[in-house]
Symmetry: C3
């Protein structure tokens, strides 16, 4: 088994941002993503995700450079306007070329 | 991009525990959480989550001290009575003050 | 708090593979799993998960040997035929004997 090191980025936002976030994630060079439904809350927020279609959780596995580009864009274009959480972790994958 | 190191705690339990777990997670000092629906099984359990509203998966990103307090509470008050799985991993975040 | 090191394997596939994947995961020695619904896309795929019941996301926490056996099997029996993504990360657990 031959593993390659990648980053896993998890983004949690209101569901209304799904299409825009996915477009931006792919435009930054990610080759795929996984979306699941969620609900929850963050600092100073009311409980999100109970209203207006809930929250989403987007997972993106990619190389550092791609993840950095996504985070940079999110920081500039989403953080000032939307409640959005993100965290990054180290993961291993097979088939390096697919991520 | 300036990252801070945090812990990601994932808790999987029966859905009936959601409100109590979230209350306890916030009481331990977490500033937010993400909940999603799930189903599954663990050792000696029947397949959970197919009955009675399924399972939930709660994710909490916080500092080590907060996560340790949550785990300590879960160990004392939940493990003896409920089927509950948890795992912890290392994550990086932006905006340190939000976690 | 006494932690043990384990691996977390996340598998994302079309929902139609759920029963077969779970059977194989347990046959490789995993003691539990968590399944949640998802949708998404990977390289060269159309947007999966919008048709035919969506995608699933299976999480398995186990020791390295068990995870390697699952990955080996997935590589041989699933990768040639199905769109399936996987990634592995390091996690800590309590109650070592349950994983």
């Amino acid at each position: 088994l031959s593993f390659a090191s990648k980053k896993l980025l998890t983004l949690v936002s209101e569901a209304a941002l799904e299409n825009r976030l996915i477009r931006d994630v792919l435009a930054c060079g990610a080759k795929g993503y996984t979306v699941s439904g969620a609900r929850g809350t963050g600092p100073r927020n009311q409980r999100n995700g109970d209203l207006e279609g809930g929250n989403i959780r987007i997972e993106v596995v990619a190389d550092s450079k791609t993840i950095d580009q996504i985070i940079d864009l999110v920081q500039r274009e989403y953080f000032p306007h939307y409640a959005l959480s993100l965290w990054i972790s180290e993961v291993s994958v097979l088939r390096d070329e697919r991520y």
